[in-house]
Symmetry: C2
Amino acid sequence: MKNQKDDNLIVLPDEFGLATDYYELTMAAAYFSSKQTERRGIFELFVRKLPKNRAYMVATGLEQALSYLNDLEFNEDTISFLKSDKSFENLGNDFFEYLRNFRFTGDVWAVPEGTILFPNEPLLRVEGPIIEAQIVETFLLSMVNFQSLIATKTSRIINVAGNKDVVEFGFRRAHGPQAALLAARASYIGGCVGTSNTLAGHKMGIPIFGTMAHSYVMNFDKEMDSFMEFSKVFPEGMLLVDTYDSLEAVRKIVKSGLRTKGIRLDSGDLYLLSIKSRKILDKAGYKDTKIMASGDLNEYIIYDLVQRGAPIDIFGVGTELATSRDDPAMNGVYKLVGVKEPIGNDKYRLIYKLKTSPGKKTHPGPKQVFRFYEAGLIKHDIIGLDDEVFEDSIPLMQKVMEKGRMKKRLPSIKEIRKFHVTQRSTLQSEFKRIDYIPETFPVRYSEKLEEITRSFKVQ
Amino acid sequence: MKNQKDDNLIVLPDEFGLATDYYELTMAAAYFSSKQTERRGIFELFVRKLPKNRAYMVATGLEQALSYLNDLEFNEDTISFLKSDKSFENLGNDFFEYLRNFRFTGDVWAVPEGTILFPNEPLLRVEGPIIEAQIVETFLLSMVNFQSLIATKTSRIINVAGNKDVVEFGFRRAHGPQAALLAARASYIGGCVGTSNTLAGHKMGIPIFGTMAHSYVMNFDKEMDSFMEFSKVFPEGMLLVDTYDSLEAVRKIVKSGLRTKGIRLDSGDLYLLSIKSRKILDKAGYKDTKIMASGDLNEYIIYDLVQRGAPIDIFGVGTELATSRDDPAMNGVYKLVGVKEPIGNDKYRLIYKLKTSPGKKTHPGPKQVFRFYEAGLIKHDIIGLDDEVFEDSIPLMQKVMEKGRMKKRLPSIKEIRKFHVTQRSTLQSEFKRIDYIPETFPVRYSEKLEEITRSFKVQ
């Protein structure tokens, strides 16, 4: 019979073995059957094409990716399931025994979370026994793609919000409860000051925000009663004024003498309403009362409101942030760039790999991103082989996992958020414009890498 | 210190109490403080505006919504977190004691999963003590919005795929691992024949599909070796032919004499490649070898391929399906439509509620959707009050939970999928067109409901 966790469709660590595309497991079995367990694969995770209208991306999700690699296992339950699969019936027991002892033992290189990247720049590299490095593809992509998507969207919103605060309000439109939690994390890293998601506050220490819903106001016979009752318990709370008539509600508040930290506008012409509300508040001596705005906001609306000088202090952004609504997918891919064939004595021969499918060509070999700065700003990047050296450049990828073990303490979410602020300050100003769609990015492949790619022959 | 589940950002049932927007909890505390624990709230979940270009929606996610209501609790850990929250410091211990004993005890009405609905038609109604009915808003919305979004997108794709099979391939672009699982469920209900998500196969019995990745092919020095090795282990497996040159690969396969169940095309001109591949296969006597196509497919591309008669047997759809890429949010809302005030002797006085915010006006009172059929097709719906009676109509909402307990066995996922097939067959044909954007839907409010709404006065 089904148990609780199955009803709720939660993906638990002891089921991580099956939390992958089926073909990863058939390939694993095929590698195993052709005795390729000693062969090592080198895979790189990168984004070929950024989401629409994005001029850069924010690499995010590394912590959960590494946590997954650390926890990945096949428990008896998942092994039984595979054994019962018709396609796996040809497989001998030694494959299932292999899965039973499976742990991820590979090495991982990655750029720090919060790093700004351009298309084709690897953000993660996995090198390990080819079965291990293959199986992890799907989960890693899902984790890194989504968080990077949301951090990228957020960073873009923060660029136009200027000195105004932005809070993530998207739980109800996120793609399920875990997506909401991941979105809260990624949007905090991208620059939000907090989230409405209480569990995100509990699990990650992200500041949590909230006002009240229309239903609370409607529950009372008189709107003002709802404000009074709420303020008794939460004197620091904000009052939602648009249930019936926003300006009328603001007038009622100041007339009543009820002090409040802030009001929230959630519908109508936010520009006009914020100006008129500010006037009513100021005139009544409510200079400290803040104005929050929400209701299907995105970077374009916020840009417009900020440019026109709307006296809004805080923006609450929901759907657009939690789903990256204008383009809800980060097209990260995970490509084999090389294999290491065992030649005895723990030695390996490195063989470069690339694919030549139309529009999906890859560059072979393990790579590094070398970043050049000028006056504190990103001048350009070179994607080269990881053993190349470029003077005056900073290599972005670092080794974070060795033989399946973490190499060092990961930064806290607050440290990552701070790191992203400094990353954003290295962007040329045009990259921070929401209407800037670069024709070319300041990135080139190294001459050596181009030469190897050109001379590659496929049988 | 953080534990495993925190690192992986999994939302577990014993944490469900915090898996909600912060304002639900502040409102709960405010209700509690103003002694409104006996008052009952009636909330309805409905969608005001469908995602772009959708002519109908598929209500999905009820099973997980009910499972959440069943499991919802506040454990000591979550209560400690709230106690430590600055805003909650004014609250006496009796509120936390209330949370400690909290269970959902309300009643729920819902349309069966897989039901076709139009805008403004309620798909779920919760009636219960107002604190309970309020707290559950965020999670219910997140669960029902997302699954309905994906089932709706899938149903649309199935409409144009004709007699071709569609498989969900979107794990890597889904919004995290749980979103991938929820998407696998919803897309199976919407009409997919299966998913690539192995865990979805394990947890829900959804048929799982997979071929091989480019990396597997690239790992071998010769493309043909990869096909041979794979087929040894998986004679029923499909071969991915586009790593280097799709037609060349198909020629190599037939020349080698290797029998295969199918080939997968993943790039290039799928129309031309499928025709040419089919010719090569047929000429060599591979009439039973199927052709699968994948690679950023959506309903428009599939429509075009099917209309032009491309000999493709199976479509693998990833990003577009798992994120509903052209519009990734279902704008479900959860609105207070009435309260029941206790008047002693377990009796209540029903008070209608509505909001009048610009563009967000609601209709008051607990409602029912009455559906009228003609010759087996939906003629029109009436949204009326739940105690109205309309002859020859079928009421869509059923009571599914009473006093927090399930009223009956929920259908299996296969039964839901079958139910949706019959639902789709009741749609007028224009609603199944991907280019049809209805100006009006075949839905009206009952006269009684319109009258009550008109006469409503707000203080």
